[in-house]
């Protein structure tokens, strides 16, 4: 039994700060009267901001802690900063939404904090046990959050997410068990060492890795494990959906990147084909199904599935040491681009949503440009970014992704990506056409935090696309460390 040292705590500091903050806030919230839950929201945001500050000071730091069960490196710090920012956006979107829809509860923000801390633990996990722990810590608050509005649809979404999520967690545990059986360790580096030395049962290890892939594939909503996504995204309160779509996806991909790149490079010949197929199927299925949607939440849910496919593309050449760092950096870059456009577009959806689920059809966006030109312009930016049209972050992100797919020797995959992106223009532009070319009289809600989020993400989507090299270098150095 080793006593933890300063290094151990330093490695896990951002996660520890956020978790302790969330625990204390749970108690503090009990004494905040129902009418003043804004205080809880503010304190939760403050906790995330403080943690974000610590995370930024950790840029460039590298260490492992707690018997190398958790790791701190450029990759985890990049992910931490991205996840904490997502948490801030999540709170900003939730503040007005929960008041308007009569679901003000302090627990909302506390569950969000716990979920973010689980995601951060996921980014720092260096051991399959911690991966599983983090998976549960990030998922369980999300199940509760999905059901928090107590409407029938919201409860259905929560139960559905919980049952299928628990099922997917089972795959992760079973995969971990098989990998432990094959290598005698759950530590990622030790698994790699065993696999490279060739002393393991290759088949057992491959099956274990494939089971892990199923579990993570569920979390990031990759086809064919995406069945839950449209129902859960549509039923959950929109502010929860926005946070879930970005946060759970980032965490899932970050874990996928780390586990596979650290532990299973020797399995690349077998897994590359599987990943190729997963990525292609997800892109095709997500985009094709999105075309026939009339509800904006459902459409964005299928768009989220399609984007999981694009990000998976970054991951196909992971066994090729020459291409992998650029490809994974492209994946990280795309995660940022997706998260920004995602929060923006869900923000616009929240602005138009009315009680009793009205205002969620794509037709409800008719005439938005005439009445609220700024909001319509912002939505146009997000839609263009999700298509991958210049001058937006999404376009740059897709460029990096397709380039890394070509460099890795997968021109077919890049082609599928390109064709499905063109295809996706149809349903994204339908929103734009509705806003600009049809007559209508939409009503929106004005909330300062919502406007701030939408405005900020719209401006960031455009501005950063002119200087993408800066962000890409950040991602690249994060991966190389």
């Amino acid at each position: 039994m080793t006593t933890p040292t300063y290094t151990d705590f330093y490695t896990l500091l951002p996660y520890l700060i956020l978790t302790v903050w969330a625990c204390v806030l749970l108690l503090v919230d009990l004494f905040i009267p129902v009418g003043r839950k804004g205080i809880t929201a503010f304190l939760a945001a403050l906790g995330i901001a403080v943690t974000l500050g610590f995370s930024i000071t950790q840029i460039g730091a590298e260490s492992v802690g707690f018997s190398s069960m958790v790791a701190l490196d450029g990759f985890s710090t990049f992910a931490n900063i991205l996840l904490l920012s997502s948490g801030l956006f999540g709170i900003a979107l939730a503040y007005g939404y929960t008041q308007r829809f009569n679901m003000v509860r302090g627990e909302y923000y506390i569950l969000l904090l716990f979920s973010v801390s689980g995601m951060m633990l996921m980014a720092q996990a260096n051991d399959l046990i911690i991966v599983f722990l983090a998976l549960e810590l990030l998922s369980i608050p999300l199940y509760v959050l999905s059901a928090i509005s107590r409407k029938l649809t919201s409860e259905e979404s929560g139960v559905k997410y919980f049952l299928l999520g628990a099922f997917a967690s089972g795959f992760v545990v079973y995969g971990t068990a098989l990998i432990f059986g094959a290598t005698g360790s759950t530590n990622l580096a030790a698994i790699f060492a065993q696999a490279a030395a060739g002393v393991t049962s290759g088949l057992l290890l491959t099956i274990g890795a494939a089971l892990l892939l199923v579990g993570f594939g569920f979390k990031v909503a990759a086809a064919p494990f995406h069945m839950w996504t449209p129902d859960v995204y549509q039923g959950a309160p929109t502010s929860v959906t926005a946070f879930m779509a970005a946060g759970a996806k980032i965490a899932g991909f970050v874990a996928l990147f780390r586990v596979f790149a650290t532990a299973f490079p020797s399995l690349a010949p077998e897994l590359t084909t599987i990943l190729w197929a997963l990525s292609a199927v997800t892109m095709i299925l997500g985009n094709l199904t999105a075309i026939s949607q009339t509800n904006i939440k459902r459409m964005l849910a299928y768009s989220a599935i399609a984007h999981a496919g694009y990000i998976l593309m970054a991951f196909v050449p992971y066994g090729n040491a020459k291409v992998a760092p650029t490809a994974i950096a492209a994946g990280l870059f795309y995660l940022v681009a997706y998260a920004v456009s995602n929060f923006g577009s869900w923000g616009v959806v929240i602005a138009l949503e009315k009680a009793e689920g009205k205002g969620l059809e794509i037709e409800d966006y008719a005439g938005l440009a005439k009445k609220y030109p700024a909001l319509a312009a912002a939505m146009t930016v997000f839609m263009l970014s999700l298509i991958g049209f210049p001058p937006t972050l999404g376009m740059v992100g897709k460029f990096y992704l397709f380039r890394s797919a070509l460099a890795g020797g997968f021109p077919g995959l890049a082609l599928i990506g390109l064709v499905t992106s063109l295809l996706s223009a149809y349903y994204y532009l339908r929103v734009v056409v509705n806003m600009y070319m049809k007559e209508g009289d939409p009503e929106i809600e004005r909330e300062p935090w919502l406007a701030l989020t939408t405005g900020f993400t719209a401006i960031a989507t455009v501005v950063v696309s002119f200087v993408p090299q800066f962000l890409f270098m950040l991602a690249y150095t994060a991966v190389m460390r």
Binding site: M1, T3, P4, C23, L26, L27, L30
Partner: protein, 118 residues
């Protein structure tokens, strides 16, 4: 090695066969006179009433959740108590952290009224 298990295998096989034969013979030769009374579920000889699944007050679930909270606490206490001397101060601190986290949940449940039946 494996040969030693053959006896057990044979035993399982024969036991299963006997069970199937007994049930099969009963089905073949036994008299069948079904009636409404015979088809009702057996409930200690009384006439059955109500549904098979009954609605429970949701409070029971709260009690169950609280029970799990303390159940797991005890499960973790036992190994700690056994290895108390080896773990020393570090183990004590770990346990204090663990209890504090549980306590936060307990205070939360208390304040939310989970402990009041009415």
């Amino acid at each position: 090695m494996l040969l030693e298990y053959i006896a057990i295998g044979v035993m399982i096989l024969v036991a299963t066969l006997i069970a199937f034969i007994a049930i099969g013979l009963g089905g073949l030769f036994g008299p069948k006179k079904p009636s409404a009374e015979k088809d009702t579920p057996y409930e200690s000889g009384m006439n059955p009433y109500g549904e098979g699944t009954r609605r429970m007050p949701v409070r029971f679930y709260l009690v169950a959740v609280l029970f799990i909270l303390f159940d797991i606490e005890v499960v973790f206490f036992l190994p700690w108590a056994i290895a108390f001397r080896q773990l020393g101060l570090f183990g004590l601190l770990e346990m204090v952290i663990f209890i504090v986290i549980l306590l936060i949940g307990y205070v939360y449940a208390w304040k939310k009224g989970a402990l009041e039946w009415e």
